[in-house]
């Protein structure tokens, strides 16, 4: 997917914040390429998986791992979270092959998709990695962890936007065997570590009974090297806050009570996760990438189709899903805001802006 120049070189903004003064915002270009997740005017859980195949050109879906204008901000945020809580990055000891698999996949993908920002030079096992955005240039020996400043998984995931988890496949089951998780929607790597696919999905309403997880797991067990897949997930977050972890619930839980009709357009955000799944070649493990995008209601409303559709989706979302996703309390205020942007006109199929 990488040789074709499907990926526009991103303009990268100076560091903005996801906490405190919350200076994060989206440029008009970032809004246009936002992965709006609704193809219809309603939403229900399904096994919404499709090939992650480099399409559509120029979109946030096209790159293997999407790098955008928030790169520096998200990498700075990750460093801050890890300083406060090193347990956000943990990998079980037998996952060393998967760590190197991840490093190789990310380095080769980034260098192919964004040659002006990243490059990888390989001379046998001697590799030189250059990340011009973060001013990193390291020469190391592939498969020799002592030649890198950090373990390979932590080293590379500190340089790529999104959370990442690693899953060994044993007994026709996937296990939570490691991850770098600093921008999650209210779940904890430390808590889920070692759990299996059904266990870590335990809290999700309806989907178990619908057979969604059974079918999804069956599909993932046969995932092939070189044929990654993707899906979208979504929720709402107050303020552009990346780290909505259970560990820091005391810091963000109360934000939900601060939403008023006056500030809702600015404070309420649609949070979309572009998730991609990769079979790793040497370890036979699966890498799960959870790339988080945030857009405020004000920004969303600049695309009339999205405001109309999100209004309808949110209005008709069943109570148990709204409760699980954590926005049932402030949903009415958001609906009042969005209703003003919904004239009842029909919306076109698909998620792209008109």
């Amino acid at each position: 997917m990488s040789e074709q120049a499907t990926v526009a070189a991103p303009r990268v903004k100076p560091v903005e914040t996801f906490r405190g003064d919350f200076t994060y915002s989206n440029s008009p270009e970032a809004i246009r390429r936002f992965p709006f997740p609704f193809h219809r005017d309603d939403y229900m859980y399904s096994v919404n998986i499709e090939p992650h195949d480099g399409t559509p050109p120029g979109s946030a879906y096209a790159p293997a791992f999407d790098i955008d204008e928030h790169y520096l901000s998200e990498m700075a945020e990750r460093r801050t979270v890890l300083e406060e809580d090193p347990k956000r990055c943990q990998v079980l000891p037998y996952m060393m092959e998967a760590q190197w698999d991840t490093l190789e996949l990310m380095m080769t993908s980034l260098a192919a998709d964004y040659p002006e920002h990243f490059s990888l030079t390989r001379d046998g096992d001697t590799w030189t990695w250059e990340n011009r955005l973060l001013d990193i240039r390291d020469t190391f020996t592939f498969k020799d962890a002592d030649t890198l400043p950090l373990e390979p998984f932590e080293y590379i995931t500190r340089q790529v936007q999104g959370d990442f988890t690693l899953h060994g496949q044993r007994n026709d089951m996937l296990y939570m065997d490691g991850g770098m998780v600093t921008c999650q929607a209210d779940w904890s790597l430390d808590f889920d570590l070692g759990m299996n696919f059904y266990e870590w999905h335990g809290p999700v309403p309806r989907a178990h009974e619908m057979g969604v997880f059974e079918r999804a797991l069956k599909y993932l067990l046969t995932l092939k090297v070189g044929s990654p897949v993707r899906r979208l997930n979504w929720t709402m977050t107050v303020n552009p806050r990346m780290d909505t972890s259970p560990e820091n619930y005391d810091k963000w839980g109360i934000d939900r009570a601060t939403i008023t009709p006056d500030n809702v357009g600015e404070l309420a955000h649609l949070r979309v996760e572009l998730q991609s799944l990769w079979r790793l070649p040497r370890s036979n493990a699966i890498l799960f990438s959870i790339r988080c995008y945030l857009i405020s209601m004000e920004e969303l409303a600049t695309v009339p189709k999205w405001a109309r559709r999100f209004h309808r989706v949110l209005r008709d979302l069943p109570e148990d899903l709204a409760d699980y996703k954590g926005f049932i309390g402030f949903r009415p205020t958001v609906l009042d805001y969005l209703a003003r942007h919904d004239d009842g006109a029909a919306t076109s199929p698909g998620g792209a802006p008109d």
Binding site: N48, E50, R170, N171, G226, S227, P281, R282, N284
Partner: protein, 318 residues
Amino acid sequence: MSAVDSIPVRVAAIETVSPFIKTFTLEPTDGGPLPAFSGGSHVVVTMQGRDKNHRNPYSLMSSPYERRFYQISVRREDDGRGGSKFLHGNVRVGDQLFVSPPANLFALNELGRRHILIAGGIGITPFLSQLYELRAQDSDYALHYAYRRADDTAFLDRLAAEHGERAHFYESSQGHYLDPGRILAEQPLGTHVYVCGPEGLIDTVVTRARRLGWPASHIHAEEFAAPPSGRPFTVVLDKSGDELEVGPDDTVLDVLEDNGYAPDCSCRGGVCGECETAVITGEIEHHDDYLSEEVKREHSRMMICVSRAASERVVLDL
């Protein structure tokens, strides 16, 4: 065959191991490193024959730590569909073939404390790549390898040299038979057993292990029987009246797309539900995990990404 699906390779060497077995060394045509893989993986080899293409899975027997080439060993099957005969008779050094990225349905359990590998005949191939891993990781393992005649296998000397007392050989023409019951009975609790070879050997090992109380999660088998490809059939599109032929290795979805249609689809693997299509007449051979058993029995709908017609014609509401 999509781009990610096929890696062009050049046949760099062919070694005749026995009258029945040849080993092929495959190098990437573009010179770049081949995808890494894990022990027990196979690739699907596509051969362009004169009348038809053959697509057969073969286990990678070369080292998983080697990315300049792959090696496969192929046993000639005279009464098959012809893929192995083509490799034996028509493929020469320098020819181009295509391989899929490696897939593994026979991986070692990386948390296993002890591994028993039982091979019959050509079923040794997936173990050859696994053995590199077991040795590199200093694992506790043993190989039990049964074959008809020593002349038919080239791997004996190498296995004996590299694995010493961990390798056990059974040459049936000399009256040495592998006794799965005895091998299994001697193993400590928690051992994993892996078997690959003729159907009879696999059945015996699996049944014995079960009877001895081994958990299913510790019994691993790989059969070389590729799933039979389907029978060809005709799809009739009710709305346009178009009639399209679906070949043995095609899916209805692929054929529709090749003919300019863009039916709804997402996963292309029978789980998401997007491609559900109403069937007007025809019987369906269902391969999906989406439709309920009840709907499947009615033959009223089909998932066109994976399911096929059981009748010669099927009329779809498209």
